[in-house]
Amino acid sequence: MAAALFAAERGLSCIQIGNSGGLLFASGLLDLLGVHPVAEGRLWRSPYEGLAALARDEPDHPLARVDAASVRNALETFVAALGSAGLAYAPLADRNRKVLTPIGTVKTTFGVPRSMVAGSYALEARPPCLLVDFRGLREFSAAQIVATLGDRWPGLRHQQIEFPGYEAVPELYAAHLARALESAETRGRTIALVKPLLGDARVVGFPAVLGLARAGAVHAAFEAALRIPVFEIPTMPTSVPGLRLQGALESAVSARGVQRRQQARVRALSFEADGGSATLELVGIPGGERVLARAVVLATGRFSGRGLTADRGGACESILGLPVVQPDSREAWHQRDFLDPAGHAINRAGLSIDENWRPLGANGKPAWPGLYAVGSILAHQDWMRAKCGSGLSIATAWAAVDQVARQLRGNGAG
């Protein structure tokens, strides 16, 4: 998505293929770099300083290949595009922020939606704070968060209320609540239930259900009515912030003229030998479709996104069968301990690239001059442990699109 966005912003005609289902699992937070080295579990206040250390220690890491200015530009552009599509993020500072998680841990991240940023401030200042919970929202327990953090945050309290209109419903789902809160009446009733419980709280947290398409307005309405800062806490996937992110990106990308083929998949991808253009055969569209492109950006993700697939013999790249850097045997893929600090070796598997973001073929040379690879499909990174997922996707997309533009202008390497 980021690649499509950046390409469109540069005026390159762009068609995006494949569904954005992976975004549904997003938490809405944009990670740049939280932990490095992964094995030590060292946290960074300034992700840019962390990136500098990363570049020194792991020169093969994809983020090591993007200079700081580009990273900054990429993230700013991305966040601005989201803002233009109605999803506002807190301004990006040079430091990481901390956010509460539903199980009571604290997450290091970089880009925080505006509806959540008051929580980051609250985590630093630790004022008296109320966490509101809805009966029936199963994966979220304000009691748990308070219990887990309570010794470090004495002013943290929790209260459970009924969600207006859903009193008879056993199980609540975040997306439904978010939509319901877009109605002024439901909002009013919710606020009426929360107000008397505020006590001396100077900030109040909710699970992330404050609106779906009109999240900004709902959040603002809550703050106006409760007269104190309000923040959202990310919930388990599929979460409303993930839905918002998906919606905003789809809208931003479409608004910039990117054609989308959401239900399609690439059946075959072939290249002209002289590097002229690539042909993509699509399935999933009635009658099929064929796309001709001068450059192709592979941003297909890892195993859960089906960019990489694995059988008992090994991992391979799904569309072209590009060589995948990976441990020699499956026994080495995963540690015995799930939370082993070193992380699992298979997470670092992926595509190797040259300095121009082109994945290498079997002969160690770029597979095709116009083929680029970005994001989590790249080797030598463990985004889940380093907390750099979004940054990885966005920054590498930026750098690769930059390269694409150069190629199309004729300045790029062959």
Partner: protein
């Protein structure tokens, strides 16, 4: 023909027709379709009629109604948008017949008043009469041919005496042409006329006139010498212009009857002898009266009911939500009206989304034309009589297969609110103990159905008899990609709005998928979620793993009917 006889027959037919109309129309206030109609008395419905009409006419909806009158009733606009050929045929019939009635049948009170000096034997009336008659015949022929088209071979066109009435109509027209032909060719009529207006019927004296009339007016004198002397014809012309021309134009313009008369020339004398004119007249007139009297009792009552239906529809459509503005009394009457206003054109059938299933399942009961008749049969109690169980069950199944897409309603040329009728019909079916699957499945909890299936199959828990089949819901690979992300449930509008647990859903899409994965399909088959599913496809389109959730729900519904259907051990009430 004796005026007394004529008058008597006329008034008798009119009276019968009027009585028939009243009787038929009364059904609109008596017949109860839909459970909400049970509570409404006929008098309330009549009152609602007056109130509704008043409110329609004394508001801006009057314009909609007037517009509908001109465009839909007179010019048959809706028929035009559906089938142009049929529209043409119908227009021919309507226009031809109306004008024929006005100009010819009602000549003494219409044509004579409008056109002083009207004589039926003058132009343009000669021409017009034949033209109108031919229009009707042509239109009727086109209609009959159109009905034979294969596309609508399943359409329910059965009605009372419909064919007979068509024959009667044809008879009226044909007898009319014949009558005129006879009159044109008849020497006896000639002599009668000359006797009355010239004073003689002596052939020798009338020789010039005879010559003219034989050569240009088609009279078939048996004793006419051929070739006819043109000088005589010229003499005759002079005489004609003095005595006859004021009432008689050359019948050549009667372009149907005149050739017919010429064809009849050889047998004219026989016809004359046999007073063909007379009995043809009697036949023609009495056929008309028969048609008039019997009109309310046949499908051609639609000439009254259909325009009313179109006007009512115009009055209804102008409201924000069509049909919703009607009180239950109004709706009840409108449904009963629909039974009469339906012209059996079959356009609804040709537009029905599930029509192909009629052939595939061998149950034409799902076609709108059949459903309309079934609804009527149910309301009249006929469906509930012993011996009609099969018909009743097919009607119920047909009602179920309707997807409520509304195409039949939007296309109906006579403006019937079919969508409302189907909904009401389903309520009546349920009340009669013949609920649609969505109703009878949801009448029992899912677990009961599961236990029923277990008992029937005798297989232990978790056994899936379809494991090797191509069924989506049994296939291993269907669910192997599910990562339990709950996206399907989160985007499901049915779950979002199911806040009344008394009547709400019992499962969610994710739970249904998991039950299937666990091999517990029996638990899912009878669940409310499966039957409340709106088929919106949000789940399937949003699933990040491409699992065909909505398709599976459809399949489960089909399987339910198939496997749970035997519980519907329905007997007609004693």
């Amino acid at each position: 023909m004796s005026p007394v006889l004529f008058q008597t027959a006329l008034y008798a037919s009119l009276a019968l027709c009027a009585l028939g109309l009243v009787w038929r129309a009364s059904a609109w206030f008596r017949v109860r379709i839909g459970t909400d109609a049970r509570a409404v008395t006929p008098s309330r419905r009549i009152v609602a009629l007056f109130r509704g009409s008043a409110s329609a006419l004394f508001s801006r909806r009057l314009f909609a109604v007037l517009g509908a009158f001109f465009l839909d009733v007179l010019l048959l606009r809706r028929l035009y948008t559906n089938e142009k050929l049929r529209w043409l045929a119908h227009l021919l019939i309507v226009v031809g017949f109306t004008l024929l009635v006005l100009m010819h049948a009602l000549a003494p009170i219409v044509s004579a008043k409008l056109f002083p000096g009207y004589q039926p034997t003058l132009d343009p009336y000669l021409f017009l009469r034949d033209l109108f008659g031919l229009m009707v015949l042509t239109g009727a022929a086109l209609m009959v041919l159109g009905r034979r088209s294969a596309r609508r071979d399943l359409t329910q066109t059965r009605d009372r005496f419909g064919a007979a009435f068509m024959v009667l109509l044809a008879f009226v027209l044909v007898s009319g042409f014949l009558l005129e032909a006879c009159k044109i060719a008849s020497p006896r009529a000639f002599y009668r006329m000359t006797d009355q207006f010239i004073g003689t019927s002596d052939p020798r004296k009338l020789a010039p006139l005879r010559a003219l009339w034989a050569s240009e007016f088609g009279v078939a004198f048996a004793d006419m010498k051929r070739p006819i002397d043109p000088l005589l014809v010229e003499q005759g012309r002079k005489l004609n212009s003095e005595s006859c021309a004021s009432c008689h134009a050359k019948p050549v313009s009667a372009f149907v009857s005149y050739p017919l008369a010429r064809m009849l020339a050889p047998v004219t004398s026989v016809l004359d002898e046999g007073h063909a004119e007379v009995w043809l007249l009697y036949l023609h007139v009495f056929a008309c009266f028969l048609g008039l009297a019997s009109l309310p009792f046949t499908r051609f009552f639609h000439v009254v009911a259909a325009p009313i239906s179109l006007l009512v529809d115009a009055a209804a459509r102008d409201r924000a939500s069509p049909g919703q503005g009607f009180s239950s009394a109004g709706r009840a009457s409108r449904r009963a009206l629909a039974l009469d206003a339906c012209v059996r054109c079959g356009i609804c059938d040709s537009r029905c989304s599930v029509a192909p299933l009629a052939r595939y399942l061998g149950n034409p009961g799902l076609l709108p034309s059949h459903k309309l008749l079934a609804t009527g049969a149910l309301a009249g109690g006929r469906l509930l009589r012993t011996g009609h169980e099969d018909e009743a069950l097919r009607a119920a199944d047909g009602a179920f297969l309707c997807t409520d897409c509304g195409r039949c309603t939007s296309r109906c040329p006579v403006g019937l609110d079919l969508a409302d009728l189907w909904e009401a019909g389903r309520g009546d079916l349920a009340a009669a103990g013949l609920p649609t699957p969505a109703q009878w499945v949801q009448a029992r909890p899912a677990l009961d159905w599961a236990e029923f299936l277990q008992a029937r199959s005798g297989l232990h828990d978790l056994y899936d008899p379809d494991a090797s089949s191509a069924l989506l819901s049994a296939g291993r690979s269907t669910f192997s990609r599910c990562v339990q992300c709950q996206t399907c449930t989160n985007v499901c509008p049915v779950v979002a709005h199911s806040i009344d647990t008394g009547h709400g859903i019992d499962l969610t899409p994710q739970k249904v998928m998991n039950l299937l994965r666990l091999g517990l399909r029996d638990l899912a088959l009878g669940s409310r979620m499966v039957w409340d599913c709106a088929n919106c496809y949000q789940c399937q389109e949003s699933c990040p793993e491409g699992i065909r959730v909505a398709d599976i729900m459809c399949e489960l519904r089909g399987l339910s009917v198939q496997r749970l259907g035997s519980v519907r051990d329905w007997k007609a009430p004693a």
